[in-house]
């Protein structure tokens, strides 16, 4: 940057800005309906206008203002983008460059462009109505206001506001202390005082609203015109008392200016709530559920039928409240998918490929946090598909495929999970090369037999995908292991399928919610564990006899299918003896099943998921923990992990014959 000269710095930045706008305009020429591009162009022009004015380039600001205005109309859907409009703005751009360079005598050229712009817009400028209404009989304003409790913490100084009112005219200010809490409950940083102000001024109402502009949406404010006969005489004591009379509370919905009206109009359809408040609500519901399970335990242990019936009622209410709260956090994945249009567009240009994005199931709803956290992993996957999965147009044509490659993003709900799939019609993953690479890295033995599913999981191994371009999922230094970790952090998993020459499909299965699940509480040895109920298929008894018979083998026959099972007592090295009547809890993910042998099934349990400590993150068998009604802790089993262990065990046995 050139020393301390803001103008020089501005020239550099403006040049870059114009390059971006130009690129946007050119792209828009290919895709007239692309609102992302329209917005990008609009923002570029808007910023240019603003900084131009700031650095003294008035002619530039003035000229750019017209182009920005045109794109604002496109943005708002009042006008559609046309090739002519784009052409005019492109030439306007060159003019802007000239203005930035400090060219003179450009007015005529500028005017000519603007005339073309008007013609291209083809719509007459709407004259905005002057809404300001003069009020001749007004002597001033009577206002009454209260600031939000956190105003002072957030940097609003009430004294400064009062000073600002005083600047408008003679002000009579009375503090209302009726809502100041008792000293013991007083939080000194909160603002509990209200003010009534009689303001003698000929300033318009909007001037008063301007004083409160930063807090207007959260505060109580009424502004009423002061009739001439209400004007207090200077220094008259009675007037002060009169102004102290009953304070009219602002009626709900009675707005104070346009902002309040806009807020009211919106409120009818939906309410915007900051995410933290939802999180706080969810926490409280979580605590309620824990307290409820404690109550249920006490009630269940006694003989008091009335208590038990109340407890059941609360259990029902807590469950409904949990569901209702969960729904509040759900948003459609459309917002997530929408962000990929631009990415695909950019990737197509970068890779010189023709790529079409198809989306499906955008109305599927997922927890808001999940939507946010899925964006990055999906970008990695989509980018890899475009970079390496899809063939260049010529190659596709030679293969008899359509020259345009397709990337499909789809979402659907399946039980307690939402499945998000990225599917391309490219060349697919090269099985042999993945295998060779994995062997070279010592991840698998040359003799090892692996199914496609297992083999493709290797690409998520740390260090694997960052290596040379082996598969369509490698390269770019984007570690697929990061993708996998993020997804697993959401208690989800990734499946990869691929058909040579036909393309690959990557499916992320993510639980619908993060905070609370229905669980099956079981006991293994002396400790209790939670099995996510959504994964439970059935529960069977394992008699001692059968247990003896199955020693050395670890499969049971379930409706003509062999299902591997794991003795959790042994896996967890509890050092305890098995109960005489052990149970097998059969759990499944996708097509895979595994039976978990436990000592006792305690029952259903509303499980509020708490994260494991950072010091336990390397323990793969558990996804989290929960607090039980008696204050004890139960660990939550990671079904995906246990199924994998079970499958591996089965294969070992099969290999051993």
């Amino acid at each position: 940057m050139s020393g301390d000269d803001p103008v020089a710095a501005f020239r550099v930045e403006a040049g870059e800005l114009l390059d971006q706008v130009e690129q946007g305009l050119l792209d828009l020429g290919h895709q007239l309906g692309d609102m992302d591009l329209v917005n990008a162009v609009f923002r570029g022009l808007h910023t240019l206008k603003g900084s131009g004015a700031m650095f003294g380039f008035e002619a530039l600001a003035e000229f750019t203002h017209h182009c920005e205005g045109a794109f604002d109309k496109v943005r708002k859907g009042q006008v559609t983008a046309t090739h002519e409009l784009i052409a005019v703005v492109l030439s306007a751009q060159d003019h802007m460059r000239a203005l930035i360079d400090g060219g003179r005598g450009l007015d005529t050229a500028g005017d000519a462009i603007l005339t073309r712009l008007d013609a291209a817009l083809g719509a007459a400028e709407e004259t905005a109505l002057d809404t300001s209404i003069k009020n001749a009989d007004r002597a001033g304003w009577k206002l009454s206001f209260r600031l939000p409790a956190n105003a002072m913490t957030n940097g609003i100084n009430p004294l400064v506001l009062l000073d600002e009112l005083r600047e408008l005219g003679e002000a009579r200010i009375i503090a209302r202390t009726d809502r100041v809490p008792d000293f013991a409950e007083l939080v000194p940083t909160e603002c509990h005082i209200g003010w009534d102000v009689t303001l003698m001024t000929d300033a318009p109402k909007s001037a008063i609203e301007d004083v409160f502009i930063f807090v207007m949406d959260d505060m109580e404010l009424t502004i009423e015109p002061l009739a001439t006969d209400e004007v207090p005489q200077s220094g008259a004591a009675e007037q002060t008392i009169a102004a102290q009379g009953p304070v009219t509370k602002p009626e709900p919905g009675e707005g104070s200016g346009p902002l309040a009206h806009a807020a009211k109009a919106r409120a009818g359809e939906s309410v915007r709530v900051p995410a933290e408040r939802l999180d706080a609500l969810m926490d409280r519901v979580g605590e309620l559920v824990i307290a409820q399970s404690r109550l249920a335990q006490i009630a269940g242990g006694g003989t008091d039928l009335a208590l038990r019936s109340v407890s059941e009622e609360i259990e029902r209410l807590a469950g409904e409240m949990r569901d209702a709260t969960m729904v509040l956090r759900m948003v459609p994945v459309a917002s997530l998918f929408g962000r990929f249009r631009r990415l695909i567009h950019d990737l197509a240009r970068e890779t010189s490929k023709s790529i079409e994005l198809v989306t499906e199931g955008e109305a599927t709803e997922v927890d808001k946090t999940i939507v946010e956290r899925l964006f990055d992993p999906l970008v990695h996957i989509v980018r890899n598909s475009c970079d390496h999965g899809l063939e260049p147009p010529a190659e596709r044509a030679a293969l008899g495929k359509s020259e345009t490659g397709t990337v499909k993003l789809s979402a659907r709900q399946a039980g307690g999970d939402v499945l998000i799939t990225v599917c391309d019609d490219g060349r697919g993953i090269d099985r042999e090369r993945v295998r060779a690479k994995a062997e070279a890295q010592g991840l698998i033995l040359p003799s090892q037999q692996l199914g496609d599913g297992e083999l493709f999981q290797l690409i998520f191994h740390p260090g694997f995908s960052t290596a040379a371009q082996v598969t369509n999922l490698s390269g770019r230094g984007v570690g697929m292991d990061v993708v996998k970790r993020t997804v697993e952090g959401l208690r989800g998993r990734i499946d990869v399928a691929s058909r040579p020459g036909e393309g690959s499909t990557i499916t992320l299965s993510i639980p619908l919610t993060l905070a609370i699940i229905d669980g099956l509480l079981v006991r293994v040895g002396t400790d209790r564990f939670v099995v996510p109920l959504a994964a439970v298929e059935e529960c069977l008894e394992l008699s001692l006899e059968e247990d003896m018979r199955s020693r050395g083998r670890s499969v049971i026959t379930l409706r003509d299918r062999l299902v591997p099972f794991l003795r959790l007592r042994e896996l967890f090295e509890t050092g305890t003896r098995p109960d005489p009547f052990q149970k097998i809890v059969v759990v499944g993910i996708g097509a895979e099943r595994v039976g978990l042998v436990v000592d006792q099934i305690i029952g259903n349990h509303q499980t509020v998921i708490k994260p494991m400590s950072a010091l336990h993150r390397n323990v793969a068998t558990f996804t989290g923990a929960t607090i039980l009604g008696d204050g004890g802790v139960a660990l939550i089993l990671d079904i995906g992990q246990l199924v994998a262990v079970g499958q591996a065990q089965e294969e070992r046995l099969r290999a051993a014959g």
């Binding site: 940057m1 301390d4 803001p6 710095a9 501005f10 550099v12 930045e13 923002r43 808007h46 910023t47 206008k49 603003g50 900084s51 131009g52 004015a53 700031m54 650095f55 600001a61 956190n150 002072m152 913490t153 957030n154 940097g155 609003i156 100084n157 004294l159 400064v160 000073d163 600002e164 940083t189 502009i213 930063f214 949406d217 959260d218 806009a262 915007r272 900051p274 933290e276």
Partner: protein, 122 residues
């Protein structure tokens, strides 16, 4: 005492413009290039006002505001954010994060000085 103002913006030219405008009005101006730097400087010194952009690398303005408001020592420090959109959503979000007020870009130096005076009362 001269009021001290921290301006946080990733655009060097905008920072410069803000500094010139505010120091011209008699304020002491300090600069930070992103949220991380802004947070570090704000923690080292209590400023009378912080003027921050929202869109920045490393740590955006919203996150910085949230972080600042988490610290009791920063309670009551006015924070003005700069936004290109006159969009109500962004304002609501920034206010919920703890911002004091905003200034819509583009602005002229006088507007910025006016806002600083409005919030500081001097």
């Amino acid at each position: 005492m001269t009021a001290s103002i921290l301006t946080v913006d990733d655009s060097a030219s905008l920072r410069m413009a803000i500094r010139i405008a505010l120091s011209g009005a008699g304020y002491q101006v300090y600069e930070a290039a992103d949220g991380v730097e802004g947070l570090a400087k704000a923690e080292a010194t209590r400023f009378d006002l912080i003027v921050t952009d929202l869109n920045m690398p490393r740590m955006d303005g919203l996150s910085m505001i949230r972080e600042l408001r988490k610290r009791p020592a920063q309670a009551g420090v006015p924070i003005i954010f700069l936004t290109t959109e006159s969009d109500g959503e962004m304002k609501a979000e920034a206010r919920a994060a703890g911002a004091t007020g905003w200034l819509v870009k583009p602005f002229v130096p006088d507007q910025l000085v006016k806002i600083a005076k409005k919030v500081l009362g001097r």
